[in-house]
Amino acid sequence: MSDYIVEMRNITKRFPGIVANDNVSIQIKKGEIYALLGENGAGKSTLMSMLFGMYEPDEGEIYIRGEKTQIESPNHATKLNIGMVHQHFKLVSNYTIAENIIMGMEPMKKALGFIPMVDIKKANKEIAELSKRYGLEVNPEDVIEDVNVSIRQRVEILKMLYREAEILIFDEPTAILTPQEIQFLLDIIRGLRDSGKTIIIITHKLDEIKQIADRCAILNRGRLIDVLDVKTTDTKTMANMMVGREVNFKTDKKDPVFGEEVLKVDNITVKNKDGLPVVKNVSFSVRAGEVLAIAGVSGNGQIEIADAITGILNVDSGKIYLNGNDITDKTVRQRIDAGIDYIPEDRNAVGMVMDFTLAENLALKSYYNEPFSIRGILNRPAFDSYGNKLIEKYDIRSSQGNPTIVRTMSGGNQQKAIIGREIEHESTFMIFVQPTRGLDIGAIENIHRQIIEERDKGQAILLISLELDEVMNLADTIAVIYSGEIQTIADAKNLTLDQVGQFMMGVGSDE
């Protein structure tokens, strides 16, 4: 008999062109919070997918409660009381919360004594009780599409609890939450541990691990580096082990040298599809060599500002000038050619054509110019040589290089490709929206360094980020947006983290 509730021994898993897990062994005690830490593509999710029955290991064995088990499917895993909350929720958006939770194991009743029917009243009651017991307040009758991500995540957790899961796996649970929601979730996870559940949490956020985890396994490029006791290890050590080298939390930067005004946004208003203004009379300007960061809670009009500047959205009123020229009525392409680079928030749906090759995506903003095409005819060799150059320069990793379909690449490498493409494109002004979202420390550090490098080369940079740390770390000037209105614009040196936080909630202006 073993002391461990989960044991994975010598697990190896290969995918075409990559070893996702290389002889990894982990042992998890009942009732602990066990963190899996690693960069993107380190193999954390793959390892847990095997525990949840989504993949089978090429080599190695899995023991559940001391018994050797071959987990064949997620259904099998559920029978073994293993539950998983995926990074991307698996919910039916036009069903109610209760319907989503009971799906597949509905409580039944017999109408008129013989017609089997789902007992939705009973389900609603059970779920209300369950949610109260674990502090996960939800209204079972709400429809999923009407509730926010934080509630949806609670539904996913309740789904596991409803299936009486004992071993709960969380895949990057905090990636999409606001700071307050994160705290709430961490409290919930602690509560679950205290009620006897075993928790495995996949993350690359060190401070969260420090807050809740008991032990932490560090993976790097598919190999297990070490298992640490969280209490006795500092985050710096963890970060270094995870990345495999020294990490700087603080980006080194010289004092800014401001040049001419490059972008001027003059009193713009942008309306959404329903005709409601989401950006209200916003004005600001960005100078050469300056990083202007717009801080704000998600959904306060930041994205719309970026889309308006790049021409994807039309402004309702106001003017936008680039290097003194009015670009308000120009097309997206004219603005690209005039020298605007844009790293969009959604790299999958917007930043790339996911089913195009890497080479094609790297040339997505220049394919219509020579040498990529000559009089309308594509010149494939130019795509390939340009692709090779960027792959090398920006360390973009993929299974086959140029012909790799971008969809098959990891998020971090997709982002490297987008940033590389935009930096290489000739421009005077760059917009970065959430450039490090969902990325690991090594990649974040790299992107921060690149942003500062571009600034020092004299680019005007607009950074839009929900991560306050990122804003404080990089910005020369900070603008805070709340409900579509700029609350304040000030030199970054004159604002503290707390002040920015208050402006973000729309209360700072009272002072």
Partner: protein, 385 residues
Amino acid sequence: MNKNRIIKLIPVFTVLAGFIVGGIIIAATGSNPFTAFWNLIQGCGLAPKASYAGKKGMITDLLSFIDLWTPMILASLSVAVAMRVGLFNIGVSGQMLFSGFIATVVVGYSGLDAFIAKPLVIVVGIVAGAFAGGIIGFLKFKFNINEVVSSIMLNYTFSYVISFFINTFLVDPVSRQSKAVSAASRLTLKDVELGAYKMDIPLGIVIAVIAVIVIWIFFNKTVSGMELKAVGLSNSAARYAGMSVNGNIMKAMMIAGALAGLAGVTYYLGYFGSIQPRVLPATGFDSIAVALLGNNQPIGIVFASFLITVLSKGSTYMNSASGVQAEIANVITGIILLFCACNAFIKWYIANRDTTTKKGFKRKSKKADKDGGAIAEADDKKGEV
């Protein structure tokens, strides 16, 4: 064998499965399936048979087959082009009818000389078709009207309006069809005597071959083709990259319409020479199936349209020669398409089985996780590019 190779061979298995099941059905009705299939091929002039009535034989049937194959190729290319920007052009029939009618009225009854009339028919077909397709594209981007709805409604509109004109002004009282177009305007040279045989020379096939090559080059080698594909794959990414989404929808629908227009003139001013009122050409609907079977690829469409045309063209001879119901051909087509629609599953199954056997697990896993599917999908796309 390597996984990708197997996946590429799926259409072949699909077709074989169709014939096997069709053969079983023929055998069940008491006929010899091999004879029936042989007759099918003979009916298209692809296999030797005895010369029959008045200087007609294998070569006559072969050329007649090619004459019918031509509009099928063009119509299927039309479906494929629209599909590439993510639009389902179900209105090929209406576009064929419209351009066929316009060309009939403008050139067919004009009395122009052959060397002016024939090129003019082609030009009119392209312009009229592009116009008809353009209406659908315009409604799509201007008012966001679903192209399936608008193209079906246009099918009816074209069919009834054109029937009205034919029945009122242009009807041939004997055949109850529109009056036959002049020989000079026809894209098929009728009843040419060569040696011991009489035959129809299908000039349209040249247009079809050129169209296949042009469309292949367009998608694989041109900036416009790349933009069209990008718009079809991801609207938002295309807009982000500065492409005009509406412009590309319009462009694709006009190209699709022009191809349908070519199909229309090769059909009405080639194969038939007249228009039957109130009937939409079946070719326009079969072409959707052909494009599916040919994986929306120009080369795939050549083979798929060949096969589907063999089945429809040869079935009459099969019926008279071996007594098998002509509808059996439709049954086989249906089964092929059914298997074809299962493509995604078969791909997933192969991709999945391959990974499990490689690992040395004998048991087949039932996990229906999306990752296996995604890999198969990615492999599939790789094959396409």
